[in-house]
Amino acid sequence: MERKKQYYTTITRRLLIAFFCLSILPIVSFAWIMKDAVEETNIIKLQELTTSTIEHRTEVISQFLQDKINLLSLLVSIYPQDYLFNLENIEKLFLAMNSGGDIVDLQVIDVSGNQHGYVGPYRDKIKGKTYSNAPWFMETLISGVHVSDVFTGYRDTPHFVVAVTDPLKTYVLRATINSSMFNALLHSAQLGPNGDAFIVNRAGVLQTPGLLNRPELSATEKELISFDNISSSLVTEDNIYATRWIDKGHWLLVLKANIDDSLGYYLRLRDRIILIVVIISIISMSAATFASVSLSRNFEHSDKEYAALNQQFAQVEKMATVGRLAAGIAHEINNPLQMITNQAGWIGELLPDEDPSQIKNLEEYNRAVEQIKHHVQRAGTITHRLLGFSRKMSTQQESVKINDLIEETISFVDREASYNNINIVRNLAENLPATMTDGPQLQQVFLNLINNAIDAVGQNGEIQIHTRFGKNNKLVVEFADSGRGIPPENIKHLFDPFFTTKDPGKGTGLGLYISYDIIQKLGGTITAENQNSGGAVFTIVLPVISFGSKI
């Protein structure tokens, strides 16, 4: 039984695995591939966008700075030194060139670092300061043209300057760039809320404030952008970085795009795919589970039916074999029995001829002869019953009302039952059709079953007799008792001839065998089982045969 259960569990499991492999696995793999493909496409697109944006920004910023350099160079080449050393002239020039507000101030410094003119808001702070030691100043004198890093200087505000010298390097013309204007150029390049655009110098120091308000770069970012990757962009787990050198490699423009920012659409799509996959998986898994379980249930059911049918066939076959065997044995025994009774009879015939005075134990001999005859008769009764000879030669057909037959049978045993305090409960269906059958033989079966039930109950109990109209035009009669039931190992042998659990001499073991035989001949079936409540129940199923039809 346990093995059988395991077998059906295995079937269920295999079916489930098959269903899983055939339905869910493909869906999930497809969804997974789709997800990866969409993600990858998205990154490639973002990379392209980043590259084109940085190209454009590089151009704009370089152009901006070049414009300022060109402007200052133009002033130096057009105006003589004396003109530029005059503050009024500088003011005029500043007003003329700074209509857009790109420049914060304009300053003229001679080669030794002394100021010769300043136009701008920081006049007071830089008054009287010399620039001979300022790094940007020295760099300008060396290179002729210079764009400084961001520094604080005398004015205490971070800023950067564009400066040029005259060809003879006698003075420096310097302009401070409007940081907010310059930063705006960068910040318009921002890609997404977590994107960033900033400029670092070669040392990795931020030259423009990033959009994310960080004072300086993280170590990983510094490392990531420490090399020039003009051709390709750098993709990390969360971000895409694109970098371009500007101002002849002096500064590095960095554009950072956050992948998650641009993934909005993709993420929604992915969530939807996952949701759909999960729903489909749940539906198909439940369907598969349902199908597998019900399929294996069906298997189990039909296997059981098949086994039961097989058992039934085996029982019929066995009973037929046993019947033939018993008949054969009975036949072989009858001849010797006849000889025994004849020989005893012969002794009985001869004894009266003897002289009684010569035979000491004449009475004993006569008694022995009678006993031999008696026991032969007993044995003969058994062989005759086995051979069915005591039964009618042919089944007679008459219209029988089962309920009446049962009532009549009960009347035979009522006295014995009430003597043992056994209550016979009738539970007889009304309006049962009468059937053409052999009433006396059927009654023999009923009587046998009721007697067995009385024996099984012993004392103080109940016998229930239940009749009903069953499926396929059959009459069903059940005899249930409140006894101890039939031991499971005995159920198989119940209808075998000579199988008895009664005390020796009390039962021949032929009652149920003959009952079985009779019911079989009447076209019905008889089965025995134990009730859940404990007692045994015998069920007879008989066909309803209407007058004139044959079995």
């Binding site: 008949a327 006849q338 025994i340 004849n342 009879g345 015939e349 003969g380 005759h384």
Partner: protein, 143 residues
């Protein structure tokens, strides 16, 4: 009071046949044995017999066939069938063919004798009827 009549015991089993014959003789009947159907038919041709005790199952021509022959040749002789086996069909066949009764082994000698006597009684009554009919016939045809 038992009438004296003659019985032919037909059985292939010698011990049974001889013992039965001896018992019948002891009871004052006239009895003979025959080991086969063939032999029985020969004896019936040559000597007087009232009742035949016939075993159904024998080698050669069996009881039922023998019965048929007896009924054909000697319709007045009554036949009691005796068998050790349970063939209900052969019993029915036997009765149809006109056997007096069908007995099942083992049967006590008393019961057997009763049955044989009943058979003889039937035969005797029938014979009487026939004889009376013949007398009537003779009386109806004087001279």
């Amino acid at each position: 009071m038992m009438h004296e009549f003659s019985v032919l015991v037909v059985d292939d089993e010698e011990e049974f046949r001889d013992l039965t014959v001896r018992i019948l003789l002891k009871r004052g009947l006239s009895a003979r044995g025959a080991a086969s159907g063939q032999e029985a038919l020969e004896i019936l041709e040559s000597s007087h017999t009232d009742v035949v005790l016939l075993d159904v199952k024998m080698p050669g021509i069996d009881g039922i066939e023998t019965l048929g022959e007896i009924r054909k040749r000697k319709p007045l002789i009554e036949v009691v069938l005796l068998t050790g086996h349970a063939s209900v069909e052969s019993g029915i066949d036997g009765m149809k063919l006109g056997a007096f009764d069908y007995l099942m082994k083992p049967i006590e000698i008393e019961s057997l004798l009763d049955k044989l006597e009943q058979a003889y009684e039937k035969k005797r009554l029938q014979q009487e009827k026939i004889e009376q009919a013949q007398i009537k016939k003779h009386m109806a045809m004087p001279g």
